[in-house]
Structures are given as structure tokens and as C-alpha cells.
Amino acid sequence: MTPFLRLEGVAAPMPIDNVDTDAIIPSRETQSVVRTGYGEKLFANWRYRPGTREPDPAFVLNQPPFDQARILVAARNFGCGSSREAAVWALQQFGIACVIAESFGAIFRNNCVRNGLLPVSLSLPEVQRLLDELQKAGGARRMDVDLEACRVRAPGGAEFAFRIGALEREMLLKGADEIALTLSRRAQIEAFRDRDRRARPWVYATA
């Protein structure tokens, strides 16, 4: 996993609540077992005219400079819905490495952190302010997100601090392999299972 330290780039506004993973990556677009090729499938139902691959100019990510977006600013409950990790892969393969929202779907959020995509939660007024700045005609479109300092800089220059769990931050900053870390605790896992097998033998009796 690529470490996430700091990101400066175009931010796109998506001022809608409950953007679900079916919208981020429609089921019918996930027709292969491989993890690549999702960039052009991102938001396929909103991005293209029905039944085609013809871009709909009304959709934000089809409009320059947002077609170059590295950051997405949404509203409440972004990424609610299914557990499909392809929602994260599609955002990343399009070029988006950070989503800012008031809140996130819990599984989507976990998937983000494990793929090096930074989910930033800000208060609703802060998110609203970013959305207003990004939607203002002729305004600035670039933002700066610094995970080491845990702050974002709005297009107009205002700075907001954000909070993220220490372990999640560590995992993102290092691009860590969580499985390897857990396997380094193998002895602890085995010791737990020995104790547990005596306390709850039925759990392990699956023959």
C-alpha cells in the first residue's frame, strides 16, 4: 500500500447526502475478479448518458478542472451501502486519494484506510464552507490535505484540523501491511485460542 502523507490538488464538490457504493461503482461494472480497470467505471450511472460511455457534461467530474480531482468533498454518510471494496479502487484509479465528508459508511471507511485512501471527517458547517467555496463561480479549486499535521486547507486559505484514530493514521502514513503486523502476534493468537478452546469448545467443533 502506498503511504499517504500530504496531498495538494483539485477538489471536487458533491453536495449530496448518502452517496452510496452502488452510485460510486454500480454492480454491473464489477464484472471481473481483478482489481484494476475501475477508474472509468467510477460513478458510471451519473457520469455517462444512460446506456453509453458518452460523458454527461452536467456531472461534476466531467467538468474541468474537476476531471482532474484528487480530492472529493461530499456531505453526510458518504459511501453508505455495500461492502464492495471496488468503490475505493474506483475512486483511487480515477485519481482521488482523499474524500472529505461529515461522515462515512463504516465499511467503506475501513476499506479506505486499508487501501491508502484518506477519509477526512469534518463538522457539517466546515464541510458546507468547503462546498460553498468550491461551487463559487471563478473561485479557487485546489486544496491541501496534510495527514502528518491532521489539517486541511480550504481553497480560500482557511485551515481546519481533523481527527483520525492513531492506528489508522499510522497505517496510512506508513502504508503498512496489516496482515504482517497481526501475524507477528501469532503466539498471542495461538495462546488465546488455547484458552478459548477450553472455555468455549463448541466454537471450534465444526466437523
Binding site: 448518502n18 454491473r28 471481473s32 475501513n110 496482515i179 466454537v203
Partner: protein, 474 residues
């Protein structure tokens, strides 16, 4: 003797699975059961093999085929879903190589993962259970701590039989009082989400309690927990009681003999202590709830079947207003008018929310002696092969078929549109499923979520209908 600290149900299960504290309120938890399916299971198994790792404990891993396989009678590995055979093959081969047992097409135990996990006794009270599917919380209805995960976390569980999780906030929702006629668990959960929003559960572990929940069957409790994720909760759970224990007893993978006695003794302790502290509590007056139907593209957008759809103009918050306007543009429901009488093109009974035998019995009670309205495509997909066989033994299949419903093989089917199967030209669907997202059930398809009773009544009426007018014989 000092009194033990009072704990909630979730804390008791959590503590029993704590392998290590990782700091930052995060615990490495032992995972008692991992369930895989063909949509993401193959990818997880492939990922583990590609990293040169081994499956840690295949005896705790189970698999089924449900998401992608066809549900037409006489199905094979060929699928309407393009690319389906590749998913099936990757999953089967990966599972065979790792020694993971799979309930395959044709196996009498096959079915939707969240329907068969309880049915087979793979899910039990007090177990931790995860699956690469967001509705894994369904089996919280039995008192299991269960949640959905992504592919990377799935690889983690396969490789270590553990998963790191951050302590969730604890939310108790108490439904108190008796349910009105034709009001089901589906209506309770839709009203809860409608009242508190699709983010109302805010990543919490949600314990459903109260007299109305105690009065529900295990199947209905699973319907309740199924949609905890639509409430934004991390998981949902109901404390096990006599109803649960009777449900679990004798199931294929349930504890036997001395193990049963030991398990039972532990399960009896699995309830929130009287003094246990929750971060939040919501109390819902169950008798005030009417049969619910959704009007928008989020489960929070629901109303009583006879109540008017809200007007976005009445919403003060600009984002909420824009979201409601966007939803109404999509569904073309009329603000300030009830959904009652809105013509539908299709009716669907199925999915991990409402496809258990009780759901089919309830729908059949309305359909018996009646016909689906002309021009309505009506489809019933039992949640598991066992449900299907039970329904056939009771003659329910005949009732569905005589009414004009298609009677299918078990699977997820049209709960989501995968690119093949469809409702034909129908654009408006009344459905017993859990998601009314844009295009969820097909390009341009508007989904109205409701209970199986409301779906059956609407299928007969050819329009969104109040099931209370259809109880009893025609």
C-alpha cells in the same frame, strides 16, 4: 465481594474475543466464523494465495453461492451476469485449494449467506461472525456479533482468523408496545431510519430491545438487524433468549451434547446488565407505527403507506433539501401526496431482509385466492434452498404460482442489478429488499421498500397498497 462492573451484551461478547489490545480503543478480536460468497470470496482467497500465505483455520470458514448465480429453475454455472462463471470458478477453486467447505449450487444447504448462516447453526449466540457483505449484521438477530467487511479485511481474517476493530459507541433502541395489524419488523426498522436518518446509527453497535422486540420471532429479529447497516450502524444485535435457544437447538452446526449444555450456560449470561451504560438510547412507540413504504433513494425516505410524501421545500437544511429533490427527480413520487395507489410494474419478494419461511407464509396469506394485477411482473425468490423446500412442502409455491408469481431458486437475484436478470420493461418496483438506491434493481428502476405483506397486497392491486385491506380471504 465487589460487584462486577455492569456490561452491555456487546461488551461481553467483545471481551470474550479480545486477543490483544492494540491501543487507540482498538482490539484484535478472534473471529469465530468467516462466511464467503462467490462475489468476493474468490478474490479474498486469491489475495491470500498471491501473498504466499495460508488460510489460518479453514474449519471456521464457510462458503456459499448466492450473489451472482442465476435463480431460474434448472440453473447451471452459466449466468446472466456477465463474467459470472469466472467468479464462480475462482471461488470454487480457491475454496477447494484452501480446504474451505462450500454450499454449492444443488446443495440442499445453499442459499443467501445471511439466511443459511442461522439456518445451519453456523451463526450462534455470542459468536463473532464476519462476511464480505454489508448485511452480515442480519445474524445479530440470534445474538451473534456480526458485521460486514471488505476484501482486504477478508484476507486478514483468512490469514489470521482475527480482525482489528475499534470499540463502537453503544446504542440501544427500544421498541415498546404491541404492533398494529400488518405491521412487521420491516416497518419498525424503516420507521426508525425514517425518523433518525440513514446516519442515525452513526457507526454504533446497536442493541435492539424492548417488549416489541421480545415478542418477535428469530426471523423477524433478523429482518430488524439486517437493516442496522442502512441506519449507519456498525452492527445490530438482539440478546438471545428462549426464542433464540429454541431456534438454534438441533441445527446442523449447532453445539451438541455436553457442548450444548456448556454453550447454553454461557448464552444465558449474554444480556446487557441492568445497570449497563449505553452511550445513547432511543425509545420508539411501536403501536404508533404504520406499514411503511419508501418514496426516495435512501432508506431514510419512508412514510406510512397512507401518509403524504414530504415536500423538499419544507426542509430547512440545504443539503437535505437538495438530496430530497434529487431523490424525487429519480423516483418521480409526488410531494405532499400519499404513495397509496401509485401504479407499479413489478413486485419482488426475496433477499436477506425478507425471504425466510415466515415472510413467504405472510405473503401467501394475502395472495391465496387472489391474482397479481395484469401487467405486473411478480417474482418470489426464497432465501435458501431449505426455505424453498419447506414452502413447497406447505403448498405455498402453488399459492404464489396461481397468483401469478414466478417461483425461483434461492439466491440474491434481483435484490441488485448485476447486468443480466431484470424486471423487463417495469420501471417501478415494490420490493421486500433493503436498498432503494438509484439503479439498484436495474437501470432507471425505482424501488419502493416495504414488508412482504405490503409487497403482496401491492402486487394484487397493481399499485402501492395498504396490506390491512387485504388480510383475510377475498
Amino acid at each position: 465481594m465487589p460487584r462486577a462492573q455492569p456490561l452491555t451484551l456487546v461488551e461481553k461478547i467483545w471481551n470474550a474475543h479480545a486477543v490483544a489490545e492494540l491501543g487507540d480503543a482498538t482490539t484484535l478480536l478472534h473471529i469465530d466464523r468467516l462466511f464467503l460468497h462467490e462475489r468476493s470470496g474468490g478474490r479474498m482467497l486469491q489475495g491470500v494465495a498471491a501473498a504466499g500465505r495460508k488460510v489460518f483455520d479453514p474449519s471456521l470458514v464457510f462458503g456459499t453461492l448466492d450473489h451472482i448465480i442465476d435463480t431460474d429453475p434448472g440453473r447451471t454455472d452459466k449466468t446472466k451476469f456477465p463474467g459470472g462463471p469466472e467468479f464462480i470458478r475462482t471461488f470454487r477453486d480457491g475454496a477447494a485449494a484452501a480446504g474451505v467447505r462450500v454450499f454449492d449450487i444443488g446443495d440442499p444447504s445453499q442459499g443467501i449467506v445471511h439466511v443459511i448462516a442461522p439456518e445451519l447453526g453456523v451463526a450462534q449466540p455470542g459468536l463473532t461472525l464476519v462476511c464480505g457483505d454489508s448485511h452480515t449484521c442480519t445474524v445479530g438477530g440470534l445474538g451473534a456479533l456480526a458485521w460486514g467487511i471488505g476484501v482486504t479485511e477478508g484476507e486478514h481474517v483468512l490469514s489470521t482468523q482475527c480482525l482489528a476493530a475499534r470499540k463502537p459507541t453503544l446504542l440501544r433502541v427500544r421498541f415498546e408496545g404491541r404492533l398494529g395489524p400488518c405491521v412487521t419488523a420491516k416497518d419498525l426498522i424503516l420507521r426508525l431510519i425514517g425518523a433518525h436518518g440513514a446516519r442515525g446509527g452513526a457507526g454504533a453497535a446497536l442493541e435492539f430491545a424492548g417488549s416489541a422486540v421480545r415478542g418477535l420471532s428469530c426471523a423477524a429479529r433478523m429482518t430488524l438487524c439486517n437493516m442496522a447497516v442502512e441506519f449507519g450502524a456498525w452492527t445490530g444485535i438482539v440478546a438471545p433468549d428462549d426464542v433464540t435457544i429454541e431456534f438454534v437447538h438441533g441445527r446442523r452446526f449447532a453445539p451438541k451434547g455436553l457442548d450444548w449444555d456448556a454453550a447454553l450456560a454461557w448464552w444465558r449470561t449474554l444480556r446487557s446488565d441492568d445497570e449497563a451504560a449505553f452511550d445513547r438510547e432511543i425509545v420508539v412507540d411501536a403501536p404508533a407505527i404504520e406499514p411503511q413504504v419508501t418514496w426516495g433513494t435512501s432508506s431514510e425516505q419512508s412514510v406510512g403507506v397512507g401518509e403524504p410524501v414530504p415536500s423538499p421545500a419544507d426542509l430547512a437544511d440545504p443539503v437535505a433539501r437538495a438530496s430530497a429533490e434529487k431523490a424525487l427527480r429519480y423516483t418521480e413520487a409526488t410531494p405532499a401526496r400519499p404513495l397509496l395507489g401509485l401504479p407499479i410494474g413489478a413486485a419482488f419478494i426475496g433477499s436477506c431482509t425478507n425471504s425466510r419461511i415466515e415472510d413467504l407464509r405472510a405473503a401467501a396469506a394475502i395472495l391465496e385466492g387472489r391474482k397479481v394485477a395484469a401487467g405486473v411482473t411478480a417474482i418470489c425468490v426464497p432465501g435458501s434452498t431449505a426455505v424453498k423446500r419447506q414452502a413447497e412442502a406447505e403448498g405455498l409455491d402453488q399459492i404464489f404460482k396461481e397468483a401469478g408469481f414466478q417461483w425461483r431458486e434461492a439466491g440474491c437475484s434481483l435484490c441488485f442489478y448485476a447486468g443480466g436478470d431484470s424486471f423487463g420493461p417495469a420501471r417501478r418496483v415494490i420490493t421486500s429488499t433493503n436498498r432503494n438506491f438509484e439503479n439498484r434493481q436495474g437501470p432507471g428502476v425505482r424501488s419502493h421498500l416495504a414488508s412482504p405483506l405490503t409487497v403482496a397486497a401491492s402486487a394484487v392491486a397493481g399499485a402501492i397498497a395498504d396490506p390491512r385491506r387485504y388480510v383475510g380471504h377475498p
